[in-house]
Symmetry: D2
Subunit: 385 residues, 4 copies
């Protein structure tokens, strides 16, 4: 039956989220160090609340809410569905505890299973698929947010020795040349995709070339050693002030120990491998590095057009495109419409995927976006010219 | 001779700047209320410093600097030419006083005149034209910054009774329809223009229409009265937080007095004319208004393509385009290269011109740009769909 | 033997701290909502570190530190013994986890027991007594800090239903009159006391009278209902600004529900009992209330002289004395000297004790002290005239 | 006639204030760099408003206010008499201009003269005396606030070459010893004094000694060179954080030029004279210096008792006393009652007087007070033990 894959996908996604938490102690579920990095407990509960709010409360006959207060506690930014606690206060909430959040997940999973196994309508199926994709996005955030917490502990604790998300190497080198012309951009298919990937539309591009390889740690160390952080001629004005006010002199998680660069990873603090692909730089650093190299970052359109001929997926790649709507973009009615459109300001687009990205979130039309000063994603650099 | 118009243009521009200050008391030259609005004294000195630094010190044989400390005091953001005082401290500096700044202007004017009257090289002519355009931009800023100071005085003092920069009316109504197609964008001519208007390049546009009229005060009052400031579904997320944290409930300078909207103008506090064109809204407000109307803001490309068929020039118009480089954009070497490129982040493009804009700064390819929360320019709204 | 009581007192104190944590889930041990309220896990570890640092590392032959990093993590403010993490980052540290902190306590307890049972020197005994008193102070803070966390959870979770620290009633009413004269102030005895209670010295007092009863919730509700929070003539200038900037309109933990004042307690959110003694007001509020009553707060000297004739111990009482050294006060050499003296600025003295105060911390010469805006202790009001 | 001296004193005081401004350019009257240092224009207007508000509006028959808006603009902190502009916005107000403020002064002077020459009541005389003393206090602030503005100008402009307020030398050396005993403290006479100098009351003091000399620049340079700013054992905890967060490494206005300490004075930037008396240190620095010397600061009572036998008046001297009410202190009814009492928190007492102090403000019972981090007064150090 048509809906069976959704039920399976639902189950798989829900289990995978929990498996990411298996190495954690209860304490690790709790803290929030900065407003943009939420606690694991919150991610577990918020993704659950999404299914309860968007599906169960509306489409599951006789469903009774697990706890009416949870909407207030675990809503992220959906103004349509009422008040919520301050985004920066998520780490303050010790009750419900972790055990209860897992009970909440079980409760919602059971009811979602009933819904998905009993001839759901197409609307419900589409909402379930949205919820699954939403949870996959939070899987990535759960990992990057957790890394932020563990990486700021002076003990540099190990998350899982067997997990090594950092030593990706480039598989290809050289330039890919693309001709001038009119190209089609945006999602082109029949599967799930976000509203911000539409409408498909034409973009005219001048001829350009992209490097097949991503910038490595070694490349970036050259920039540092050439005093790149203090050469204002390569920096955007806002980036220059951000860098000075926050005393940034390296990618996030990098520490110089006895003259050698180390970085915090999920396996602990280890030496930086110079041939591995760089991560954890802000857009400002990416821009400055590209300028220092005499090159530039690609636009998201240049990236998408070239993507079929490029190895990608190791790191999110900063582009030189602002996150703005495509022609014909429409915001959906109601709470699901708050998903993407209202963030279309002050953010830059990333393309590709990182090693923390769920499989379902990796396609060439996918648009990630962050404020240009943020370093905590596995964000890296590809050069264009 | 080819350079004569430059000498004349120089003289005219310099005099016009000073004429803008003729209604001021000495006190008005001094304060800086926010970091983005500089004192008149600083504008007078900074535009002068630009000619001294970029031309006289390099090209005027035997020129001796008026005062070596002035570079430190009146440099705005040119890192290439050394340290400078904090941008927010410009109002703190009482010496040199206004009289001395006028002497500084006289000194530089005299030497510039010598240079421009004595067979200047093409390089010098081009730098002089750049300096003239730079000073024209500061004429506009001088007025808008001054308005900020006077408009925040609880006495609402008059700048000049004869100056009325607010009651512009729309001269046309209705929709202008533009066909889908490939269009050329960017400066196309042989006159002066800024580097950010180049290179001329092709952009593909879907069919669209623009309103010939700009949004009026009366239109915006409807938005206010319909509780538009509190309907989150029309706001960008960053805009929603800006509005709430700063308690914004109207355009800048608007005050409700005895139930009627008034606004501060250079003629004092007067009732808002409902048929006049709206000004002093942020991008966030422009976006929310457009959403509330079921429309959208145009991109800068849509605007430029349509501009020959539109009345414009009353208000700067917010577009839905981020300020980013055109394909092939190159930053010039040295200090003049710091003019535009390093601001290409976190800002939105405005097109058109306002009543405070110098004539030389008004052309269809001209790109102004500000952070999306700023209201102090004469920024208004044109709707697209 | 002379040292036996110390060993017993040590054991009892250590166990009592842990018993205070018995109602907690692991999550409750973790967060820190404000810099002045530390997590239970930190209190457990810090008090342990104190014994390790001040006694075991110096006096226990062959003692090997449990973990050299713990000094960095659990030092509070002893600059003498090296760097420490930012005070506001205590809630960020998820490792060591709670289990390990209890192992750390066991390790130190065992070694301390060895030391205390084997003919300790007088110096060691005195340091052990200091450490015991230090831990007793942290027992009180552990409770008040925990209340801050639970009391800011919108679910108002119960700590322990059987614990009710709020319904203390006044046992006496009326005025106590004290004659003008020269009085002795400061610790007078041979038991343990802090350096800030010495030297004993003479103070001349005018005749005065104190109320035997403390201000009740009902008294304070009258102040609120008489608009006392908005009558600037009763407020100190700094207090007025604090109150307005933080939008304070009631004691901490008070909420008006359906027209009735409730407050968060360790038993949950319950109605305020009007005849119970008031707690959780700042010095600023205490001052304003006293002024509104046409009275004043007593000085710490007036309080101490009268204390033998007063019922006290229900609430810490704000005095109108700044926390400053007594004549002849000497700071001890080394880290133990950082205990009290360096805080003698910007704080006001509280006298008495609260229901959260350990028995050993309750004596008439005891001086507690906090910044005047803080509400999170069980701080109340006694009136003088 | 009894009131004649008041009229003369009024005239003299008003003229002296204006004479202090005679070296100023109009620009110097305008800016406010920090909220605690007001512009000269504001001081000129505020002291005038005080006479208008407290005397003319109530006691001058038929007096018509110069401008009703001035109360709003030039009230400092008298909540009783209505709203006022934010304290930090005084430098933003360019209208009324300086000329008009002088007209305002003339207007009020004329009417005050009429009142004082025509058999004023005792109440009016007392209010006039208060106003005169109030203006004398502002004369001192006008100078110290002006120094703050000129001293932060990178040109270090001269106020008046003939004014040298910094090279005071000690006239005596050695210790003054005072016996233990009961002493009377507070104003004792029939002349003008502030409410905070009363009531006269008894204080018991242990035996103590004071240095007859004040600490010199040379003494303080030894502290700096001994790394005193980085020896936490001498610092109060709040002082340590203030010093680190604000990167304080010397008294205010000190700059090291080519290896030698210079300081900004009203005569410009000059080398520090090592034998001259130190000024412009905060309480925190005074405390740390005293601790480093193995001594302490005196209490305000120790200071007052010894004052007849000490040379003083060169610098305000920080005491180790918090600014709190004397026994029996009463706040006056109405706006004049807001003068002193409401500031009795978070401030430390200074005794003596500085070279910027008006003659009338110099008596042994006079209590000045500032927050402990402030350096902009001529505050110095006397050691006790």
């Amino acid at each position: 039956m048509a809906h069976m894959p959704v039920a399976k996908e639902f189950e798989h996604t829900r289990q995978f989220t929990e498996s990411l938490c298996s190495p954690l102690s209860i304490e690790d579920y709790q803290p929030q160090l900065v407003d943009y990095a939420s606690p694991p407990k919150w991610h577990l509960a918020h993704t659950t609340w999404f299914f309860e709010e968007m599906i169960l409360k509306k489409f599951a006959a006789g469903y009774s809410e697990y706890d009416p207060e949870f909407g207030y506690l675990f809503n992220s930014y959906y103004n349509q569905v009422g008040e919520r606690i301050a985004r920066s206060a998520r780490g303050d909430i010790t009750k419900p505890d972790v055990d209860e959040v897992y009970l909440y997940r079980k409760h919602v999973d059971k009811h979602m299973n009933d819904v998905l196994e009993n001839a759901p309508t197409e609307e419900v199926i589409q909402l379930a698929i949205l919820g699954i994709n939403h949870e996959q996005q939070h899987q990535e955030l759960l990992l990057t947010d957790l890394k932020y917490t563990l990486g700021h502990n002076p003990l540099f604790p190990v998350y899982d020795k067997s997990v090594n998300l950092v030593n990706d190497l480039n598989s290809e080198q050289g330039l890919l040349n693309i001709d001038e012309g009119l190209y089609d951009i945006g999602y082109d298919g029949t599967g799930f995709h976000f509203d911000n990937e539409c409408e498909r539309h034409k973009v005219y591009l001048n001829a350009y070339s992209l490097e097949k390889n991503l910038v490595t740690n070694g490349d970036y160390i050259e920039f540092i050693e050439d005093n790149g952080y203090n050469k204002f001629e390569h920096w955007l004005d806002d980036g220059w002030h951000w860098m000075q006010q926050n005393n940034i002199q390296s990618p996030l998680y990098w520490h110089k120990v006895d003259g050698q660069w180390h970085h915090y990873t999920f396996s602990g603090l280890i030496p930086v491998a110079t041939d591995a692909i760089l991560a954890h730089v802000s857009y400002y650093e990416a821009f400055a590095f590209a300028s220092w190299k005499g090159k530039r970052l690609p636009t998201e359109f240049e990236w998408e057009v070239a993507s079929d001929q490029l190895p990608w997926g190791k790191r999110w790649e900063w582009t030189n495109s602002a996150y703005l709507p495509y022609p014909g973009f429409k915001i959906s009615k109601g709470a699901v419409g708050e998903y993407n459109g209202k963030f279309m300001i002050n953010q830059m687009v990333l393309r590709g995927a990182s090693t923390a990205t769920a499989k379902g979130q990796s396609r060439k039309s996918y648009r990630n976006f962050f404020h240009p000063h943020l370093q905590w994603q596995y964000s890296g650099i590809r050069l264009a010219q």
